[in-house]
Amino acid sequence: MDPRIVSDAHFAGLAKVRQARMMSGEERMLAGPRLFAGVCERMKEGLRDERPEADEEEIHQLLLQRLARLKKLESGRHAIP
């Protein structure tokens, strides 16, 4: 691999860790659901683009369906915390 890519990956990882160290433990915990809310907003933007005729309730239902499908792919009935 090009050593510049390896170096960029190293600094990207370091930047994330430095940013996380500057946050409190509570801020880091609460960031998880906030980041997820941001993911949902991006997914909704994509759904609105796909289905311009759909109203917000339909978009929300489509989002729930896609998330459920993703969850199903990720885990079966047996799970781990």
Binding site: L14, Q19, G25, E26, R28, L35, L64, H78
Partner: protein, 170 residues
């Protein structure tokens, strides 16, 4: 005790999550009391599942409109689970008392799951926890002891190699 991604986010690099996992030490009658006290928006899955590594009781609670999932796991008699629960720390979250495992126990558990479920995100969480906590802050003898029990020493070495460059300014 809070487990899963909330616990690794507490000690590592936060990642998006829409589920909260809890390990509970509850009697059967306490479960019923807990479920009946939940707000109407919380939907308790009628089907009970099982935790993958130790096979203990697992209950899913959905909050469909957000959407958010809560998974409750019963404390097992597995020696590692018992040790982790005994070492848990009391912390404040949103002005409420909450219990979390130590960072060492998050690393041990996530490596165990990574081995069992082959989930790359668990391994990434381990590297992130090691990276943010720093080498000097972790009890490596304790981590190695449990990883030897679980057959995850090789994965621990791999994660340590990945985390080492992140320790340079810890």
């Amino acid at each position: 005790m809070v487990m899963g991604s909330f616990s690794s986010n507490r000690y590592g690099v936060p990642r998006a999550t829409n589920d909260a996992d809890f390990v509970l030490k509850l009697m059967a009658e306490d479960r019923e009391r807990l479920f009946s006290s939940l707000p109407a928006a919380f939907k308790v899955d009628p089907q009970v599942g099982f935790e993958m590594v130790t096979g203990t009781w697992r209950q899913i609670i959905q909050v469909p409109e957000i959407p958010f999932t809560i998974e409750l796991f019963e404390l097992s008699s597995d020696p590692d689970d018992v040790s982790r629960f005994a070492r848990r720390r009391k912390l404040t979250l949103l002005s409420r008392e909450s219990w979390l495992p130590t960072p060492e126990d998050v690393i041990i558990q996530k490596l165990r799951w990574s081995k069992s479920a082959k989930r790359t995100k668990d391994f990434d969480d381990v590297v992130a926890v090691m990276g943010v906590q720093g080498e000097a802050a972790l009890d490596w003898d304790y981590i190695r002891k449990w990883c030897a029990e679980h057959g995850t020493l090789e994965m621990l070495a791999e994660a340590t190699t990945e985390a080492a460059p992140l320790w340079e300014d810890a």
